[in-house]
Structure formats: C-alpha cells, structure tokens
Assembly symmetry: C2
C-alpha cells in the first residue's frame, strides 16, 4: 500500500514519545496506589442509552456495528465510551455486591469523541481518573482526600506548572441564595462565562437574564473575583456581608480542601480557591475542580471533577462519589509535539553488545543475557559491521554504552565497556557490571517550557 | 437505572482480578524492555480497506460511525482493529522515516472482533505482541531472538505450564516438494486438520484432495508425527529419506530456534519442535509459532506468530518481520474465572491507619503520609468506629496491618502496628517502619491448576 498518512484527531506517539507517556502513567499509578486506590479497566463499549443519558455529548458518540451483523443478534445500541465516568458508574452498579465501599479506584484508559479535532481536543485520548464511591452517604473528608491525592500525583509529573482550581457549589449557591437570587443555577451559568466575556458584559447578563439588581450583580462579580492559595478567601467572602447556611457549609468545605492540599503547594504546583469556578455540569453538588497548565491556557482545563451526590443509583441504593480526571493526551500531546518533553534515548537498551563476527553471536548473546540478569536492558548488534559502524548504530539510538570482547572470552579474552558519550573504555565483568542508575533506563527530558 | 448485566464477550475484572492482569503485563513489559523492545500504542481505529485486506476476518470487524455524522465529513470507512499486526504494519509504513531499523517493538493493547463469544474467545480482548521489523532484509537470527524473548517472558508468568510449539514453513514445504507433491500449499492445509480429524482420515484427504500417492501421504504423516524438545528432530526427518534444498534450510533454521530457546526449557515451560504445526495463514514464510496452555487445550492456542517476509510494503521498500503474540485475555480470563489465579488482597493498601475519633483525622493522615514516604501503600479508616470494626474493615479487604496511635503523639502518645493475621502488635515509628517486602504490595496467588 502507499504510505499512509496520520488520521486527524487520533494522535500516535513514536516509541521515544510513548516512553514519556508510559512514565507519566507509571508515576500517576504509583501515587494512586500509595493512597490505596486500586486499578480497574472497563470495556470500551457501553449501551447507547447509557451514553446518551448525558444529553450534551450525544452527537459526539461513536456508534458500533458489526460489518456483517446478524440482524437477529445485532450489536445495535452499542457505542464507544466518551469518558470514564459513565462506564465507572455502570461498573459500580453491576458489581456493587462484590466491591468493598468506600471504593477507591483509578482508571487510565482511552476514550473516544467524534468531535472536530483541534490541538488538545482529540477523537481518541487517554485520561486518568480517580474516584471514591460510597453507598448512601459519602463523608465530606473524601473530597479533601481526592484533591490531595491528585495534587500529589500531578505535582510529581514533568509538566509545566499546574494549577488545581477548587470551588464549592454549596458556597456559590448559598451566596446567590443569600443575596436573594431567584434562580441560582441561572446565575452559575452566567458566571461561568467570565472566562469568555468581559466582566461588565457578564454583569449586564446577570441583570437582564438572571433578574438580579445592579447591587446583586455586583456582589456576584465580587464573589467571582476572589481567589486565594490558602484559606484567606473565607474572610474575603465574609467581607461581602452575605449570610446563608449553605454558604457557611460551602466555606467550611472549601477551607478544608485548601488546608488538606497545603502540602502540595510548590512553585510547580498551586492549589487555588477560585470562587469564579462553577463547572456548568449540574450533577456536581459540592466541591468542584479544574486543572490548568501554565503556558497552555488555550487548552482550557487539562483536568477536572468534583463531588456528585448521585454518581449512580439502581433505584434502591444511591452511590455518591467524588473524583478527579486528568487529561493525559490533552496535556502530553501538545507538550511532546512542541518539543517540551522527550526521552533521553530511542530504545530501552542501555548497552549494545558489539559483534566481532557472525560466528561469535552466541557468545555476544550470552554476554547480553548476563547483563540482563543484572537488570540491564541491552541488545546485540544486528550484524558484524566494523566497530565504528556499530558505535554509530548505538549513537543513532542514544544507547550510551557499547560492550566489546577482545579475543575469545573462554581463551583469556577480555571484556571492555565504552561510554560512547565520553569515549572512556574500561575493563568490565558482564556478571557484575551495571551502569549508573540514571543510564539504566531512558530518562524523561524536559526542555525550557518557554521555548 | 436498573442493575446492569454483563455484556457477553466483553470481560471485565474486579479490582483484585485486574491486579493479576497488571502484574502479568508488567512482567511481560519488563522482559521485553530488557531485550531492547520499545513500547508503542496504535489508535483503536484503522481504515476499513486496511482491515479488510485480510479477507478471512472481514465479517468480524466493528465499523464505526459518529452518531450524528456530518455527511460531507463522515467517518465512514473506519473500524476497530481486530489484531495488533495490521495497525503495526501501517504504523511502520507511516513512520518509516523516523524509526530506527531493526525496529523492536512491543505492544499491549485491546483488540475487537465481532465474533460469537465463547470461553476464551471475546469481542474485546487484550494481547501482547513483540515484533522485529527490518527494511528489505531481516537476517534469520531475529527469528531466534523473538522466540527466546517470548519464551523468557512467558516462562516468568504465574500460568499453568505453557508449550511454545515451533515449526518452519520452508522445512515442510521443502519436504513436500522433495517427495514430489504438486501443490504443497494444499498439503499444508490438509495437514493442518490433524488437530480435528483422525490421522487416517487426513491421510485419505492427502490422496483424494492433494493428489498424493499412498506412499507420499504416509511420508507426510510421518513428518507431522515428529516432535522434539531439542534438535533431535533433524535426524528423525533425515530418516524419512527426503531431500530438497528448501528442506535443508528449514531444518537448519528450526534447529537454530531450538538451540536458541534451550535456556527457557523448564518443567513450567517447554519449547517443542512440532512438525505438524503449519498455521494456515499464508503470509508466514519461515518460522511459525503457537503457544498452548496445559489443561486449557480447549482454548486452542493462547499465542502464535512467525516470520513474514512482507509485513508491509509501500511499493518501494518492503519491511520483513518476525513476531509473536500472546493472548492475555484468552489465557487470564478463564484462569481467573475458575479461581486458579487471584490476588492476596482486594486493595493496594498494606496498612489501615486506625482513627480514634474524627478530630484526630489530620493526625492519622499525617501518619499515613509518613508511611507513604517510605513507599508503603496505606489508607486511613473511613470513620471512627470501634477498633474491632476497623480491624474487620481491614480484614474484609485483606489489608494485613492496622496502625494504632494511643494518646496524642505530640504528647508522648505511642504508635503500634498490629499484624491482624497473627494478632501480634508491636511499637513502631511511622517514619521508619515498613512491612516485609511480600506484604508491601498485593501478591498474585496461584491455586492448584488441576482443581
């Protein structure tokens, strides 16, 4: 066939790029497991009626059919999942009798959306979700826990500075009720436009569309203007002079999340109480989260989540949950495409075992096996070219060491290993030699983020 | 919604079952990387014309369409891949200019087939493939390498005894030519039926359908009867008195694979030169492989592969390859369903940090963070129930240790950790205590395979 061309919206990585993604996934998984989150994978397909329950995404779903479907058996009604929350809710219901609650799970999988591709918006993408789900009642401290776990996981990644923005639906709804707004949900929807429209325009909409007075609109904009990296937002909200029980609950919850995440604050990772954050989705009932990446604001959020008091329900039991999702493809694909992230070499091999002639291949294979027994990834030269060419073979792949055997090892020959970056060549024993730890496996290389 | 029911052919694991799969994948990946194989993932979809190029599977392909596809933009012509070889061949052509050859890659992903589900045959399944691909010419020693790497990887898995059966298309084709068969491919197809039909019936078909004489048919059956765990098959074939240049090449190649895999032979893993093995697929041109699992012969093979002299071609350059595929779902789903494989606990947590009262949650959280800093997965009790209930919480999940703090640690309180399996409770420092290595993470538990 002719040379195929990439398919728009379906990003693929070269092996050295995939290595970066693997490392990011491994770092996330390790942190999640340290906090007791177990992994699951769900099937790629869900019944269409499940997928369409979230109306807004209906047009983005990929529907499946078997090429030569047997009409009486048809797979009609199946589609690819567009997130990991819908399948997770179904999984919880389906396996409720076999799961232990609170159920902490992480899930790192692909999802598919038929939307128009653009940078950071793909038709196939990988995301990492954590959720804690309970039966009937989920105590609030789990909101603090998921925030802290995701903050800790994300702050371990080789990414540009990230910001976890946090807010609380009870806080803003209580505030809007406290000022006497008739339709708090409508106010939330309008305030959510602050990232697209100028503040003045949003203020006008609050008056014209949500029926607020000028004073009420001003109070709402005042609330939305508050942000803080600690609990000082509480005083700032109180200074606006609004009182409502729900507002108090929300303030206490948001303060608890901020206190719980204090340990994750650094110059590479901020947690910000951001009182403009609303997340339009109306299934969030308390804490809401969004994640942003410095210098990549055009991607909008690279993660998000929150508390939903009814993640799933089978009519008898309700399963409340709280969770956070991080867009692995959304963040990594642009970073890798722009050269901000890469790997220190193209292959796992730390050593190329040179080959003197084709007859000595079994001897070179045996040396390679000795190195592997010590955990050193290596490969044997594909052919017995001149050593200069074998060294260039290693160079092209970024393999740091080449192993030479002079004479036959069974007859007093000697082993030497050359660091081809420095040219230094030293005697070595294949049974015991290992490279410095930083050379053992490829490393993720980060370049200046403002390049 | 009502309690959902599982979807036939789309197996899903509980968290403790998924843990087994994760460990299997990690073991395979580690071995592949030690041998210099880099990982890639390809998108789930391929153009239908690519998928249908392999005619036999056409009716099993899942076709995609966007629910509300824009006719002028349509995704028509896309389907889910049914193996990892077709996407890999496309990936090699698409990225040939950016890849280094020989290109060693492993790929562990899901694939989809719309076939009728049965045990071990799924509509969604995970497989692990390794391949080595070259431009123009792929030296034979790579056949030995992929066999050895997969043998080493599989023999590290907690599975019932596996057998890697190996044969060589040149050997059998040369043999059939040597005895004067007019249509060797026809003979191969008939010999391939030996696992379904009695030998006598196959002999009759060789005469009636492949036009062989009784003597020739007998020679073919004689060849197919040969198997050996070493290179003794060479003499057994020679004893049949057939001569052909291609037969000699095939004998030498198969002997080299057997010698190369000698180190992987054990009581849990056999490599068998099996001269009945043909693999009907006509794109194999030399070495062919199949993997079988003891006690699970009804699954047929749980893996397979071989050498293809034209994995891919763009008209100017041909890319020969050799590879092996292992069916992770095909082998693990039946083993887990029958209770042969499981995990030592349901959650990653090695420790449950007990909670005296809700006010001391921050103190318990701080202890948990100290343990995590030493790499100990742990969780804090969800509520301040009586300690007996907290211990039962740990027991139900298989968490081996419960951490107690008596008195307030800032005021001379003491820390104690209880092994709830033995009841032993000892003083411990959260900054330095770690459990024995075997308790740090869940372990894969294998039960009697003949249960």
């Amino acid at each position: 066939m002719a040379k195929p061309t990439p398919l728009s919206g379906f990003p693929e990585f070269l092996p050295e790029e995939r290595f970066v993604e693997q490392q990011v996934i491994a770092t996330l998984a390790r942190t999640f497991e340290l906090h007791g989150f177990g992994n699951i994978e769900t099937r790629a397909v869900e019944p269409m009626d499940q997928l369409l329950a979230k109306g807004e995404t209906s047009k983005e779903v990929y529907v499946l059919r078997r090429l030569q479907a047997d009409p009486e058996q048809g797979d009609a009604g199946m589609g690819l999942h567009f997130d990991l929350t819908v399948p997770f809710a179904r999984y919880v219901l389906e396996n409720a009798g076999k799961l232990e609650f609170p159920f902490r799970r992480y899930q790192i999988q692909k999802a598919w959306r038929g939307e128009r591709p653009q940078e950071g918006r793909f038709r196939e993408f990988t995301q990492a979700d954590i959720d804690i789900v309970m039966k009937d009642e989920l105590p609030f401290h789990f909101d603090v826990e998921v925030a802290r776990v995701m903050a800790e996981a994300l702050s371990g990644l080789p990414l540009p500075p990230l910001t976890l923005r946090v807010n609380n639906r009870k806080l803003i709804e209580g505030f809007y009720r406290g000022i006497g707004a008739a339709d708090p949900q409508r106010v939330i929807t309008i305030i959510d436009k602050l990232d697209k429209l100028p503040q003045e325009k949003v203020g006008e909409l609050l008056v014209s569309d949500a029926g607020l007075t000028d004073k009420q609109a001003e109070q709402c904009l005042g609330l939305a203007a508050i942000s803080a990296t600690d609990t000082s937002f509480v005083e700032a909200v109180r200074a606006l002079g609004v009182e409502h029980e729900l507002l108090e609950t929300g303030l206490a919850e948001l303060a608890a999340v901020m206190e719980g995440c204090a340990g994750a604050q650094s110059d590479r990772f901020s947690v910000v109480a951001s009182l403009a954050l609303a997340r339009g989705l109306d299934y969030y009932t308390g804490t809401v989260f969004e994640v942003f990446m410095e210098g990549f604001e055009f991607l909008k959020s690279v993660g998000g989540g929150g508390r939903y008091d009814a993640l799933a329900s089978d009519g008898r039991t309700t399963y409340p949950g709280v969770g956070l999702s991080f867009g692995i493809s959304r963040s990594l694909v642009p970073l890798i495409a722009r050269g901000h992230l890469g790997a220190s070499r193209k292959v796992p091999s730390a050593v190329l075992v040179a080959l003197a002639d084709e007859e000595s291949r079994p001897a070179s294979d045996a040396i390679a096996q000795q190195l592997r027994a010590s955990g050193v990834p290596c490969e044997v030269a594909p052919s017995a070219q001149k050593f200069g060419k074998q060294i260039r073979y290693a160079e092209r792949r970024g393999i740091p060491y080449v192993w030479f055997t002079t004479g036959h090892p069974d007859e007093g020959g000697t082993h030497e290993v050359k660091d081809i970056r420095t040219g230094e060549q030293v005697a070595a024993d294949p049974a015991t030699w290992t490279p410095p730890t930083e050379d053992l496996r490829p490393q993720v290389v980060t370049k200046e983020q403002n390049a």
